[in-house]
């Protein structure tokens, strides 16, 4: 039993690490494949989450909307070049079933701009659920509930 829990934990860490690496290395085209076709991805301020208010800063209700984000970021939206580095901690596995795992973990995104400055752009906690699909784990839900409610300038790249 302990060994099984450890394996689940390793699998969760693997998908989390692969996910943040795709974003941090600017492989946004790979980002939609981390999700199931019917999924929920959202970035919502903790302020609203705590008050049970529904509005967030980004909300994709399926993988098509996630792909649309990528097309828009690459071709339509205008923002200064910046680099993200994600740091994760405090992983807590909440519920494990055969083909589904629920967990949460902290994240910090440090953003670096063209002038060479780095600053804490966002801290928060992921509330995620992954499901096994064709041998691979994918996010059926990824909710980034963030503490840094005052977003600096804009949020283009997902977290």
């Amino acid at each position: 039993m302990r060994m099984e829990a450890l394996l689940v934990r390793l699998e969760v860490q693997e998908i989390l690490d692969a996910y943040i690496s795709a974003i941090d290395e600017d492989r946004l085209e790979d980002w939609p494949a981390f999700f199931t076709e019917e999924c929920l991805y959202e970035i919502i301020p903790k302020e609203n989450e705590d008050a049970r208010l529904p509005v967030g800063v980004m909300r994709c209700e399926n993988r098509r909307m996630i792909r649309d984000r990528v097309i828009s970021l690459r071709n339509a939206n205008i923002f200064s070049p910046a680099t993200y580095r994600h740091f994760l901690s405090g992983l807590t596995i909440k519920k494990t079933e055969t083909d589904s795992v629920e967990f949460s973990c902290n994240y910090v995104v440090i953003r670096s701009n063209q002038a060479g400055q780095s600053f804490v752009y966002q801290t928060g906690r992921y509330h995620d659920r992954i499901v096994r699909e064709e041998q691979a784990w994918r996010f059926a839900q990824k909710r980034a509930v963030f503490d840094t409610s005052r977003v600096q300038t804009l949020l283009a790249i997902p977290v």
């Binding site: 302020e47 529904p54 967030g56 994709c60 828009s72 339509a76 005052r150």
Partner: protein, 415 residues
């Protein structure tokens, strides 16, 4: 009065760069605008529905609290203890029957009246407050507060007319268009821009940039310069305005081709087009309704997403922008879900708004070093009465003309 004019001309077509970064002008704005004859937007009544509900916010630089009293009326006061100046209410939001300063536990009722002073009458031989101490003279600084159709405003001014008059007869029908029945608050998003607050005011009065900066519109064939438009300023100082883009099925792709505009692209299609649905809700079916009520409010309807944006200055080089999203209390579930989905269009990650704070920072960075040079604002100047086009900067000129008067920079104000 200034010896040399701040603005080189009074028609609003030249804006000296220094107004975007001068501490001196910023300080004067606090006195003449935020503490002057204006009404500043604080929040929605729907944010504080119950008696005792409160919200901390600002008028310009000044921290204020707006709260609902036991009888359901609204009260607003400066969030600064009458004793030694500490912030009294330390939470962004909450519910309280009274407010107490933590420093010496001076307490105030919801109207801001001083209700209690510990050891006022001394103790064990200590004298306490002087005999002539009158609690009625040491309340919190109270503000005039009024609500118009659920939008709460307050003012420091004893002389400015009532809120309805301040919004004015030209602007009211457009406020009424959106605030036509009870609303429900759906949450807020906040962003911080390293640029002057007036650059954002210019931005929401600038229909010319909409399809040129925000390429989402044109990339996915949503919005065209050739759409029918309505642009107008209020009839008084010209500081409030309305821009509406009215739905028109006729494409104007040819107009873009002729202009060789980089945003023209026929190839991209959204996989999930529901984000651009437009459920008709009003007599005039508009994709965009952008209505700044100077100085702190912008009313927004974009497709079916509704928000009251609050602009808060944070020194000459920064401002905070808070989107208060809402729906109608009687929204059917599908329409409510659509509003929440369409919040993707606006706010810090908004498909058609994220660039706004980016460009205000570009202007801030571009103008900070050459304070006596001017920006050039002449689009549509030859046709001052033209109100049916988006290719115009007339609302920006109108804004600066009113700003000059309010700030005492114009000859008319000086005379």
């Amino acid at each position: 009065m200034q010896k040399t004019p701040v603005f080189p001309c009074e028609d609003g077509s030249r804006v000296p760069y220094k107004v975007f970064s001068s501490q001196e002008i910023y300080d004067l704005e606090q006195e003449r605008i935020y503490k002057g004859p204006t009404w500043s937007f604080l929040g929605l009544e729907a944010e504080i529905p119950n008696s005792g509900d409160f919200k901390s916010t600002f008028i310009g630089d000044t921290p204020v609290v707006v709260t609902r009293a036991a009888d359901g009326s609204l009260a607003a006061w400066v969030n600064r203890c009458a004793h030694r100046g500490a912030i009294v209410c330390r939470l962004n939001r909450g519910n309280a029957k009274s407010h107490e300063c933590v420093y010496h536990q001076w307490s105030y009722d919801l109207q801001g009246n001083l209700a209690g002073v510990p050891f006022r009458r001394g103790q064990k031989g200590a004298a306490g407050m002087p005999a002539d101490f009158k609690p009625t003279e040491h309340g919190l600084k109270k503000l005039r507060v009024e609500s118009y159709r659920g939008l709460i405003f307050a003012t420091f001014s004893a002389t400015v007319g009532d809120l309805k008059t301040y919004i004015g007869p030209v602007m009211r029908p457009f406020v009424d268009r959106i605030f036509n029945r009870p609303i429900e608050y759906l949450g807020c998003t906040r962003q911080f821009s390293n640029s002057n607050w007036k650059l954002y005011v210019e931005n929401v009065k600038d229909p010319y940039h909409a399809s040129l900066l925000h390429l989402f519109h044109t990339t996915f064939n949503i919005f065209r310069v050739g759409m029918k438009a309505h642009c107008a300023s209020d009839g008084e100082l010209g500081l409030h305005s309305i821009i509406m883009a009215i739905k028109d099925q006729e494409g104007t792709e040819a107009a873009y081709k002729d202009q060789k505009i980089r945003s023209y692209d026929q190839n991209f299609r959204l996989e999930d087009e529901s984000i651009l649905a437009l459920v008709p809700e009003y007599d005039i079916v508009a994709t965009n309704h952008i209505q700044p009520i100077f100085p702190q409010l912008v009313i927004q309807q974009i497709h079916n997403t509704l928000a009251a944006r609050q602009i808060l200055p944070k020194g000459p080089n920064n401002f905070e922008l808070i989107f208060h999203f809402f729906g109608y209390a009687d929204d059917p579930p599908e329409l409510r879900a659509l509003r929440i989905k369409q919040a993707n269009l606006v706010g810090p990650a908004g498909y058609i708004s994220m660039e706004d704070t980016e460009v205000t920072e570009l202007v801030q960075n571009g103008t900070a070093s050459d304070r006596d040079a001017n920006s050039f604002v002449e689009m549509g100047k030859g046709q001052p009465d033209e109100s049916d086009t988006l290719i115009t900067e007339s609302l920006i000129r109108s804004f600066w003309t009113g700003y000059e008067k309010l700030m005492g920079f114009s000859a008319e104000a000086a005379s």
